[in-house]
């Protein structure tokens, strides 16, 4: 039982989350007349979790060690890498709570706000486990926990047809993807006799004849992960669901669940398919499956598809959906380098992506609150009538494009540094040209906000004080990290450690 106690110590954030979830549900039932305080309870729970996540930084070790597996490998690997992503998820969640405060859509369903937060907590819990679990079964289950919550959340407001539609599409697409993944997991289990990534890794180190089966299983598993990070060709749900879901949830999906997906992908590949990491930081892949080529093709496909599809989108949410697909492509590039440098780039990029993407969604939300539309034509002239919103949006979009002096540039810089270091020049050029293409649709928004004359007087979207603060909280780091990014890089660098057996 000492083992269990140690394990519980390691998963304190998750425990806190679970307790907060239960408290939320209970409170929701008790105070069913007045639900004003529910969001604050949620916020409190998140902050507390956040504190424990921070407190957990530096902690490292396996939790829930299984007696079957030599008594030292467990279901969860707690390490700095996981903590980094958990921190990102918590930050996103806290911001989403604030988003929800000002979202008109969410304000309309105040009577169900308890359930709303309960589901969000379900998602967070799922993501936390995704981030640190090293057992395929647990991975699958926590993925499902996250998915089930998000299916409901996508259709949560039930205000418009598209809400329900988003939920249904998400559900069906998600179910089939996770079904494929589960089948893939079962094949891996058949090949290796285990669902634990470390054990699988050890099994794969010895000569193996069943490479085709392994490849098939890998692709099926990747279908499940790829759908979470919306990489091509598993991205088709993304635009529809993003457009249909409430904005807060869209923003949340685009950042948090993607973060979880990436953490999972990195941990899965690093733990399972890397034989060793050389002193320079390059990962030596096991010669059982050519992850590198697969990921190169997929990442190029993803970013190209995302960028080109985004070009003529008139719905801002939909455009940002395609943009998030494109960013998934860039992020995958960090992985295809298969080195610590590439991983560092992903970590940095993701933190920055969090800020700028959430910022863009926040502005879309604020504008939708006022105008009830996400159509680009309804943005005409908004830059002039609503200067603060306009400037902030420009900064976010420029950052998404990856131009200095915004943080987006730093993200791209580290990515390309990693690529050039690995001498993957062609890929780097394709990615760079992609970012030139992306400029076109990002600037198109700017154009509509500033350059196009509105047919009638553009409404002034004047954010209230709390929204202003929220915006500033997002804008300031996007600018500051653009000129002084050392803290972020230092933090990311200290989070590179993925728990290994050695």
């Amino acid at each position: 039982m000492a083992n269990l106690y140690q394990s519980l110590e390691l998963i304190r954030p998750e425990i806190i989350l679970s307790i907060a979830l239960l408290v939320l549900v209970t409170c929701d039932l008790i105070f069913h007349k007045n639900k004003k305080y529910i969001p604050y309870i949620a916020l409190g729970g998140l902050l507390l979790t956040g504190i424990f996540v921070i407190a957990n930084s530096g902690a490292s070790g396996f939790a829930f060690i299984q007696s079957e597996l030599m008594g030292k490998i467990g279901l969860l690997a707690i390490d700095n890498f996981g903590t980094y992503f958990k921190a990102l998820i918590i930050i996103t969640s806290i911001l989403i709570v604030f988003f929800s405060f000002s979202s008109e859509e969410i304000q309309k369903i105040t009577d169900r706000i308890g359930e709303y937060y309960a589901l969000i907590f379900g998602m967070i819990l799922g993501m936390f486990f995704i981030v640190s679990s090293v057992d395929l079964i647990l991975i699958y289950l926590s993925l499902e926990l996250m998915s089930l919550s998000s299916y409901v959340l996508a259709g949560f407001t039930k205000l418009r047809d598209r809400n329900s539609e988003a939920a249904l599409k998400y559900l069906i697409f998600g179910a089939i993807s996770s079904g494929l993944m589960l089948f893939g997991i079962s094949l891996v289990y058949g090949l290796t006799g285990s669902t634990n990534l470390y054990v699988i890794n050890m099994m794969l180190q010895s000569p193996n004849a069943n490479l085709f089966t392994l490849a098939f299983a890998n692709i099926l598993i990747f279908a499940g992960i790829g759908y979470k990070i919306s990489s091509a060709p598993f991205h088709f749900w993304t635009p529809d669901v993003y457009e249909g879901a409430p904005i807060t949830i869209t923003a949340y999906l685009s950042v948090a669940s993607k973060a979880a997906g990436f953490a999972l992908l990195i941990r899965f590949i690093k733990t399972t398919y890397v034989s060793f990491v050389d002193p320079v930081g390059n990962w030596q892949l096991l010669p059982v499956f050519d992850w590198k080529s697969v990921l190169i093709v997929i990442s190029i496909l993803t970013m190209t598809l995302g960028n080109f599809s985004a070009l003529w989108q008139n719905n801002l949410k939909r455009m940002l959906a395609f943009s998030s697909i494109a960013h998934a492509g860039y992020l995958l590039l960090g992985l295809v380098v298969f080195s610590n440098g590439g991983m560092l780039a992903i970590l940095i990029y993701f933190a920055i992506y969090l800020l700028m993407n959430l910022g863009a969604f926040l502005i879309v939300m604020l504008i939708a609150n006022k105008t009830g539309s996400e159509d680009i034509d309804d943005y005409n002239g908004l830059g002039h009538s609503s200067p603060y919103i306009g400037i902030a949006m420009v900064i976010f979009l420029i950052s998404l494009t990856g131009l200095p002096p915004t943080a987006g540039f730093i993200g791209k810089l580290y990515l390309f540094i990693a690529l050039v270091d690995a001498k993957m020049i062609t890929v780097a050029i394709i990615a760079l040209l992609n970012s030139v293409v992306s400029l076109y649709y990002y600037v198109r928004v700017v154009k509509h906000m500033y350059l196009v004359k509105p047919e009638k007087e553009a409404p002034a979207v004047i954010p209230n004080l709390s929204d202003k603060i929220l915006l500033t909280v997002l804008v300031a780091p996007v600018l500051l990290l653009g000129v002084y990014f050392q803290p972020l890089v230092d933090w990311a660098k200290s989070s590179l450690e993925v728990l290994g057996l050695m």
């Binding site: 499902e144 069906i172 089948f183 058949g190």
Partner: protein
């Protein structure tokens, strides 16, 4: 016919899996799509248990199957709730007619 062994079970699961995928892709009725998904999950479960049985992998396969079954129940609950919601808004549950969100 051969002595029934692992391959037989696996073939069964493979066909079940394919039928599940086929069902998901072709059925218009959302509930039937869900049935297809259940088939896929079942096929995976057969795999888990069969591998564990023949490969002497202990009980982890069965545990996995157990969890998947429970999960399937939860998923079915959520899915049907969403389908009901769809029915309320669209007055039908034909997946292919729910295509308002597109380019």
């Amino acid at each position: 016919m051969l002595q029934v062994g692992l391959t037989h079970f696996l073939t069964l699961s493979a066909i079940l899996f394919s039928l599940g995928v086929y069902g998901v892709v072709t059925r218009k009725n959302a509930v039937m799509v869900l049935m297809g998904i259940e088939l896929i999950l079942n096929s995976a479960n057969i795999n888990f248990i069969a591998f564990a049985r023949f490969g002497n992998f202990g009980y982890s396969g069965q545990i996995a199957a157990l969890f998947v079954i429970i999960l399937a129940a939860a998923e079915a609950a959520i899915a049907l709730a969403i389908v009901l919601n769809i029915y309320k808004t669209f007055a039908n549950v034909n997946v292919d007619e729910i295509d308002h969100l597109k380019d």
